[in-house]
Amino acid sequence: MIQILIKILTIVIVAKFISLVILIFLPKDGVEQSIETNFTPKYHRISFKNMLDSSKYKQIETKKTTYEAGIVLKNMILKGLYGSNSNGFAIIALKSKPDETSIISVGEDFQGYELKNILKQSIILVKNSKEYILKIKKSKSKDNATIDYVKKKENIQDIDKNNISKKDINYYISNPKSIWKDISIVQLKDKSGFKITRIKKGSKMDRLGLKKGDVIIKANNIELTSIKNVMKLYKNIKDITAMEIVVLRNNTEVELMYEID
């Protein structure tokens, strides 16, 4: 009996030793997707004031002309796109075979053209170091979910008249209680955002375009999944120059953009 126990113990020790040896050759860390969290929106709206700054103006103008110089491709149809700049896909088809679509990610080839960049409504393709532009096909079909999605993402509400002033920000920083006089929010059970349950009519919050029932899901690239994230944003609010709030309104994402003057 003791002999059997010794044998079993030996087997366990040998098995443990082998697994430790295997462990040496295996990676110690997994792979995580790094998402840059910062307090600046993905893009800034260009105000008239910025345009008067000649250096900024020139920079924007040069970029625009580069893309406009691209030759418009006429033998292809851009059926949909997803992502921006160097990340994302484009759904392309040849005009001769419009039903045979191909999904091309940035850097991949389609008919000898390399997908270089994804813009708001078009893509930039490169062939023999020449740039070609392919604009999205406008479709009336409601079934085209991809285009619907692009449209949804571009559903930016223009709140030009309601820009936030530094004075208001400073007022809310020094009197945090006054925020809760103007607005009430509750965190959703699934922690996907904060629902506005009350908003005082005529208050600054009301004029910002927020509505009762809106679910605030993101602010300046930060997903509002916890009170901690909200506090992070609140702590840094003094240093930001623009604010981008994403709300869910009637199951549609709406982006609210503000400049802080």
């Binding site: 044998k7 443990k16 295996l26 997994g30 995580e32 997707q33 997803y82 079934d143 979910a145």
Partner: protein, 177 residues
Amino acid sequence: MVKVLKIIGFSLFFIASIMFFLPKTNFYYLVENELKKQNIVISNETIIESGFKLDIKDADVFFNSIKSAKVKDIEITSLLFYNSVDITDVKLYALAGSFFPTKIQNITFRYTILNPLNININANGGFGKAKATFSIVDKRLHLTINPSKKMLKRYKKTLRFLTKNKDGAYSYDTNFN
């Protein structure tokens, strides 16, 4: 005879011990590194290693840095003679939604010593029910889908890529060579 039985018994115990002590989390990291080469990243997950099982909960799946799916639970069981991967509650994001219903209830991969040359895959979700067999030798996948009404109605374009069988099911074959 007793000696032979003893040898078999000890061998089985040795294999079971190895499977028990194997650093399953690190093996999972190895798989993650391999997937990264294909631009697939599994992120924000909680890994729970216990005995012969490895549980991965609430994983976000990124493809080309784009959040493509959310998986609630992946349970990996390895007993050498019987291995399984059970994936439950998969939600696909916008891009995939253009081609496929976004909710998949479960996907199961099974590999047993009784059928050593094939991996059996079963899935069901908004698209209907699917059965697939992956031949390890030929590296060939044979998939059969019994599409749901939703799939037949809204995703006709996707079904065009598959071959319609006489019984109303759709099949698809592909090689990974």
